[in-house]
Point group: C5
C-alpha cells in the first residue's frame, strides 16, 4: 500500500521543535516492508541473507566476519529505530538516516562513522534519480540505508562474491570505500550526460533557430546543475575527514584508497564548475542571438522604408490636382520621372552596400 | 498604552556616544507590562510561574533545578536592568538585549553565554515576522528576552511538561539547545515559503504574461532574501563557537546536539544561496522575455511595412496626373497591375517564411 | 590666512622619495593656529585647558592623571613635530598623522598604540564630511590629531565632566575606547542616511518617471558607497588587533568594550555590503525600466502603422487613373470600400488585443 | 592495428565500480607496441636504449646510475602493469597512469613520488595538443608515461648528452625538475599563442565588421581558456608540495629549482586569469558594437521617415478630389507648395543636425 | 648599435627547456655598454664611481662601507654573469634578473635577499613606462639591475649625498627600503594619473556626446588597469616577507620602515580595486547612454509616424476616383476635413504629452 504524497511543507512542519530521534521520515518513497539484504563474508566464504525481519540482522554486530547490512525502505521508522538501538546509534544519527533532505556529511562517533551521501543515477526507466543514502561504518560491519530497492552496488556485490578480490581480504573500511567509490564513479556518468545536454543546447542557440522555449531550457539546466552541485560539493570535506581521521576503524593501508576517491571528487567538482560557467554563458549567448536577429529585422525594414518612402513622395507630388503644374503637360515628364526614380533607387542600393547592410 | 513610533533615525541618534548600559531600547514594540514566564524543573517535576514583577525571578539563580525565565517586552528598560544586575550580566550584554538591530552573535563570559538570535516566523495574522531574541545560558538557568509575547517555543514547553522527555533529564545547556534548535527548524519553514514565492514568479515570467509590475516583485524578493540571509548567516559561527567552547556549562554529551543544529544551519545557508542565485537570475529571465516580445513586435511591423510600402508606391505611380502615361489607356493595365501586386505580395510572404519570420 | 588649494597631484609629488618624518601635510584644511584642548582627569576631578602653545601639553606625559590632548589643525607641521618628539613618537607615526589620505590602521609600538581612523559626520552645514583622525594611546594619556575643530566627541566630553561616569574610573584605554566607539556609532547614522538616499532613488526608478539624469545619480551613489566602505572596512582588523594585543596598556576588563565595538564594526560592514548590492542593482532596474518604455513606444508605432498602412494602400489603389477600372463606376463601390476598411480595422484591433498589446 | 574510438560515455561506464588497478586505459591513442626509451647516465657517461620489451627496463631499479625510463603508449595495459609491479607501484598509481582524464596532482609514497601532468604543445601538424603524462620519481630513476611518441623533451635529452651539464651532476630529482620545468616553459608558448588569438578577435570586434560568426569564435575561445586553466591551475599545489616535501628523494640544493618552477606556474596562472577576463570582456564589447550598429540603423530610418512622411501628407492633401478646393485654382499654388516643402525639409535637417544625428 | 626587435614569441621560444643561468635576456632595451654607478658610503663620506667595467664593482663586496651598485642595461648578459658570479648569486637569480617578464617576488638566500619589482613612471617624454628592476640586498651592499638608464632614484641619491640623513646612519637594509619605498611612492602618482583618465572618460560618457570610439577607450583603460594591478598586487607579499624575515640582514629597528611601505602597498592595491570597479562600471554607463539615445530616436519616429500616417490615410480616401462619392461635391467638405485633421493632430499631441513623450 502506497501512502499519498504529502506536500513538502507539511512534511517539514511535522518535524519542527521535536526531540531528536528516528520518527521523522520526510521522504516520499513508501514501501510495504523493510527489505534487508545481508552479506556476511571473510576470506573463506560469503553468506547472503535476504529478510524482512530487522532482528535477523542483530547477530552480526560482534562476529569477526565483515558484514554489510543493506536496508531498503525508510518509511517503517520503528524498524529502523530497532536496528539503530541494537547497533548503538545515537538518536541524532537515526534522525538523519530518515531526513532525506540532509546534505552529505560525516560524523565520527566513538565506535562508528556515520556518512550521509546522495546516490545519483539513471534508474531502470532512464529517469535521473537522486537517492538519499546513509552509511554506518563500524569495526566489522557496514550498514547502508536506502529509500528504494534499486541501487548501483551490483559491481560491489560481484566483487564480494569473487574469492580473489581485494574486498574479501580487507576490512569493513575497504567495503565502505568500495561503496563510496562506486557512488562517486557514477557522478562521472551523470555529469557527462549533463555535458551532452549543454552542448545540444549550445548548438541550438548558435546554429539552429533558437525559439522562445530556449530560455526555459537554459533555466532548467541551471536548476539541474545547482542540484548536482549541491549533492557533490560537500563530499570533498566528507572524504577528506574520513581519510584524515585517526580512528582505528580506518586502517593505515586503506587511506590511499580514500585519497584516490578524494581526487575523483575534486575532479567532479571542477567539472561541475566548468559546466556551471557554460550554462551561465548560454543565456548571454542566447541574448546575443536575439539581438542579432533584431538587427537583421531592423535592417530589412529600414532598407525598404528608406527606398520607397521618398519615391512614394515623388509620386504623390505628381498626383496633386493643381491646375497649374507645367510638368504634367510636358510630353516626356513621365519617362524622365521614371529615370529619376530608378536613379534614386540605385543610389540607395549603393549607399546600403557601402554601409555593408546588403 | 502604546507609544508612537519614532523614526528610526532618531532611535539611533539617541544612542550615539552614550556609555554602555541597559537604557537604549531601539525596537518598536511597546508593552504596558513586562511579562515574565518561569519554568522551574527537574526530573521530579515542573513549576510554571507567570508574573509581571521582575523580582519574582530572582530566587532561581542558585537553585539546583533547571530554570527557564522568559521575558516578554523590552521597553521597560529599568526592569530588564534590575534582572540583569541580579544575574550579574555585563552592562554590554544589557545594551545588546535591548538593541533589536543587533546581528546574531555569541559572547562567552566567565559564568554564562550570551546569545543573540533572530526568530523568524509567520505570526497569528500570517505576517512574516523577524523578532530579536537574546538568550543567557548560565549553569542552571536560561534567560530569554523577547520583544513580543508570541513565539515559537510551544513545542519546547510541552516537552518540559512531559516527565519522560530528554529535556527533563539533561541540564540548562540542553534546554538552550532545544530553544535554538526550534528557532533553526523554523528557518526551514520560512525559506520553503520563500522558495514557493520564487517559483510563482518564475512561472509568471515564463508562462503567463509578465507585466511592468514584475520587476518590482523581483526587487522585493531580492530584498527579502538579503534580510533572511542576514539573520541566518552569522548563526554558523554562533553555534560552532558554543559547540567548541571549553566552558563546563556545555556538557560533553550535549555537544553532539549542537553539532546537529550546526548541520541544519549549514543546510539553510546553502538553500539561501541557491534561492539567491535564483532570484538574481529572475531579472535576467525577465529581460529575455521583454527582448523576445520586442522582437515579435518588430517582426509584425516589418512584415506589414515591407509588404505594403512598395505596393503603395506602385499605386502612387498610377495616381499621377501626367498627360502622357501610355499605360493608363491600355485596356488590361488595371488587371495586369493587380497581378503584379499579388506576385509581389506572394514573393514577400515567401521571403519572410524562408527567414522563419512567419 | 587660508592658503590656496594645491592640486592633489602636486601634493603627492611633494612627498615622493622623501625620508619619513613630520613634514608632509597633504590635507586641504589650513588653520592659522594649532588649537590644543587638554582634559586632565582622575576620579577626583577634571582640568580643562585650551591653548595654542604646544609646550603647554608637555607636562602631562608622566602624571598619574589620565590626560586627553586633542590637537586641532595639522598644517603647522613643526608644532606637531615638537609634540611628537616630546611624547617619543616614531618619525613614521608623525608622517602618518599628517597623511590625511592614509587608510585606517593600528600600529603597536613598545609604549603606545597609534591608530588612524576616519571620522564620518554631517557637519554644522549638514555637509557629509570625512575627517582624518589619528589617536595615540599611551599608558596614561591619549593624543588625538584632527584636521578641523569640529568633531563628534561632545558626548565624551560631558561623560568626562560627570564624576559618576565609568570613564572617570577607568584608564586611558577606556578613554580611547570611548572615542573610537563614538566614531563607530556615527557610522550608523551616516549609512542610515545613505540608505534613505538609495530608497528615494529606487522609488524614482520604479514609480515616478526616471529621466536621463537618473544614471548619473546612481553612479554618484556607487561612488559614495565605495568611499564609505573604504573608510570603514579596515576598522575590522584595527579594533580586533587592539582587543587581542597583549600590551599592558589595554586592561583585561576593558577588552569586552573593544569587542563590543568590534561587533558594531561587523554590523556596519554588513550593512554597507547590503547597500552596495542595492546600488549595483539600481542600474539593472533602471535598464529594465528603459527597456519597458521602449517596448511601449514600439507597440504604439506598430499598432498605428499596421492599421493604417494597408488601409492607405487600398485608398491608393482607387486613386489610380486607369481608364478601365470597372469598380470606379459601380454605384455602391465607395460604401463597400468603407465597409471593407472598417472590417480590416476591427480585425487588426482584435489581433492586437489577442496579442495583449492593447 | 588501431582500435575504433569508443564514445566517451562507454569509456567511463567501463570503469565504474571496478577495483583499482592498471586495466582501464580511457584515452584514445592506440599504438601497436609500447615503445620504451631508456637513458641511463652518471657523470661518467650515458647509455641510451630503445626497446619494445618492458622487461629490458627492469634492471635499472637498483643501479647507482640515474635512469630515465620513458614509456610511449598506454593502451597495452598489461605491459604497464608488469613495469609497475616490478617498480613496486601502488595499484591506484597504475590506475591513474592510464586515466588520461585525471587532473594534475602529486602523491607522495614512501619510496617514490607520483606526479600527473598535462603536456600542452603544438604538434608536428601545428595542432594544439593536450597530452596526459605521468611521472614517477624514485631515488635513482624517473619513469615517464606518455600516450604518444611525440613530446617536448628533446632539450632535456640533449642536456643529458652533454657531459658538462648540471643534469649530469645532480640526481633523479633534478632530472624530474628538468622535465617538469620544460613542460611549464611550454605553457608560456601556448598561452602566448592564445593571447594573439584574443587580440585578433578584439580587432575584429572593434575595427573590422564583426559578423554573426563572431560570438561563436568568442565562445570557442572561452572554452579553450577554461581547458588550459584546468590543466595548469592545479600545478600550483603540485610543485609546491614537491618542494616542501621532507622526503630525502628531494635534495636540499634542488629545492631552489622547484621553487623557480613554482614562480613560473604562478605567473602562468596570473596570465590565464588576465586572458580570461579579456575573453569574458569580448562578448560585452561585441554586444556594444551590435547596439551601436542598431542605433545607426534606426537613425537612418528615422531621418528618412521623419522628413518624407509629413511631405507625403501635404502632397496627399492636394491630391484630393473635392470640388471646392480654392488652392487648386490659384496660379502660384504649386510653386508656393514646393517652397513650403523645401522649408520643411531644411527645418528637419537643421533639427537633426542640432541633435547630432547628422 | 641597437639590435632589431624580435617578435615576443621568438624571445620566449629561445628560453624553453634551457638549463637555468644568466643567458636569456628577453627584454627589448639594448644598450651599447653596461653602465655601472657605484655609491660607496658611511657616516663619514661618500664615493661615487661611474664605470663600464663590471670588474670595478668587485672590490666592494666585503668592505665595511655600505655600497649601492646600480647596473643599467641587461643585454650584455656575460657582464651580468661575471658580476653575479663574483657576488655569489644563484644561477636562478641571474636568470630572473634578465627575465623582464617576471612578476614581482622576493627570494631569501642564505646571505642575500633577491627582490624583483616593477618600476612604473612617466619618462622624460611623458610616456608611461614599466621597467623591470631587480635588487640584491646583502649584508653591506645593494645591487640594482635596470633595463635603461632613466630611473626614479634621484631623491635617494641626494639623501645619500646629505651627511645628516638617516640613510647615512643606517645599513644596507635601510638603503634597500629607501629604494623600494621610492618605487612604491611613485605608484601613487601613476594611479592618480590613471584616476584622472577615468574621470575624463566618465564625463565624456555622461555629459558630452559619447561616440563609437568611446568603448575602445574604455577597453584600453581596462587593459591598463590590469597591467598596473599585475605589477603592484604581488608586492603585498614581497614586502611582508622581507619585514617578517628573521635574517639578520634586516635590522630590528628597520622593520618599522618596511611595515610603513607595506601600509602604502595595501593602500595602492585598495585604490586599484576601486579604479577597477569604476572602469568596469564605465561600460555599463556607456550602454545606458546608448539605450537612452535609442529611446529618444524611437520616440521621434513614433511621434511623426503616428501623427501623419492616419492623416495621410484620410487624404488618400478623398483622392480616390469613385464616381459616386457624395462628400466630394459638398461645398464645405474640404474645410470640414481640415478641421477634422487639426483635431486628430491636437489629440495625438495631447496623448503624447500625457505619456510624457513630449
Ligand atoms: Mg529537531
Ligand atoms: Mg536504493
Ligand atoms: Mg573512483
Ligand atoms: Mg586515482
Ligand atoms: Mg569560475
Ligand atoms: Mg551580466
Ligand atoms: Mg555606545
Ligand atoms: Mg516573542
Ligand atoms: Mg534541528
Ligand atoms: Mg541531524
Ligand atoms: Mg555571497
Ligand atoms: Mg558560488
Ligand atoms: Mg553566480
Ligand atoms: Mg616616503
Ligand atoms: Mg575635527
Ligand atoms: Mg558602539
Ligand atoms: Mg554591544
Ligand atoms: Mg565585496
Ligand atoms: Mg552581488
Ligand atoms: Mg574505481
Ligand atoms: Mg608524447
Ligand atoms: Mg622554467
Ligand atoms: Mg626564475
Ligand atoms: Mg579576476
Ligand atoms: Mg569577469
Ligand atoms: Mg628553464
Ligand atoms: Mg632604468
Ligand atoms: Mg612610502
Ligand atoms: Mg606611514
Ligand atoms: Mg574586484
Ligand atoms: Mg564589479
Amino acid at each position: 500500500m502506497r501512502k499519498p504524497h504529502k506536500s513538502k511543507k507539511k512534511r517539514i512542519a511535522k518535524t519542527i521543535g521535536k526531540a531528536p530521534g528516528a520518527d521523522g521520515y520526510v521522504g516520499q518513497k513508501f514501501r510495504e516492508t523493510t527489505d534487508i539484504e545481508i552479506q556476511d563474508y571473510s576470506k573463506e566464504g560469503v553468506h547472503v541473507i535476504k529478510t524482512n525481519n530487522v532482528e535477523d540482522a542483530f547477530k552480526f554486530k560482534t562476529t569477526d566476519q565483515i558484514t554489510w547490512i543493506n536496508v531498503n525502505g525508510l518509511n517503517h521508522t520503528e524498524e529502523i529505530s530497532k536496528l539503530g538501538h541494537y547497533y548503538g546509534l545515537h538518536p541524532l544519527v537515526m534522525e538523519d538516516i530518515l531526513n532525506t533532505d540532509h546534505r552529505p556529511k560525516v560524523d565520527e562517533y566513538e565506535d562508528y562513522f556515520f556518512v550521509v551521501l546522495k546516490m545519483l543515477y539513471f534508474n531502470k526507466d532512464e529517469q535521473f534519480t537522486v537517492e538519499h543514502i546513509s552509511l554506518v561504518l563500524g569495526k566489522n560491519y557496514v550498514l547502508t540505508f536506502q529509500e528504494s530497492e534499486e541501487d548501483i552496488f551490483d559491481s560491489v556485490r560481484s566483487r564480494i562474491a569473487n574469492p580473489e578480490s581485494r574486498i574479501r581480504m580487507f576490512g569493513a573500511d575497504y567495503l565502505a570505500f568500495a561503496l563510496i567509490d562506486t557512488i562517486v564513479d557514477n557522478y562521472f556518468a551523470v555529469i557527462e550526460d549533463f555535458g551532452e545536454k549543454i552542448e545540444a543546447l549550445e548548438d541550438q542557440v548558435f546554429n539552429e533557430n533558437p525559439d522562445d522555449e530556449t530560455p526555459k531550457s537554459i533555466q532548467f539546466l541551471k536548476r539541474e546543475v545547482l542540484k548536482i552541485r549541491r549533492s557533490v560539493f560537500p563530499l570533498r570535506e566528507v572524504i577528506s575527514r574520513i581519510e584524515k581521521s585517526e580512528n582505528p576503524i580506518i586502517e593505515e593501508r586503506n587511506r590511499d584508497y580514500y585519497r584516490d576517491t578524494y581526487d575523483h571528487v575534486i575532479q567532479i567538482n571542477e567539472n561541475i564548475e566548468i559546466y556551471r560557467d557554460m550554462v551561465w554563458g548560454l543565456m548571454d549567448m542566447y541574448m546575443t542571438t536575439v539581438s542579432n536577429k533584431m538587427n537583421n529585422i531592423m535592417k530589412v525594414l529600414t532598407i525598404i522604408a528608406t527606398i520607397f518612402i521618398p519615391l512614394t513622395f515623388i509620386a504623390g507630388i505628381y498626383g496633386m490636382n493643381f491646375e497649374h503644374m507645367p510638368e504634367l503637360h510636358y510630353k516626356y515628364s513621365y519617362y524622365i520621372l521614371w529615370a529619376v526614380m530608378v536613379l534614386v533607387f540605385l543610389g540607395m542600393l549603393y549607399y546600403f552596400r557601402r554601409k555593408r547592410w546588403l
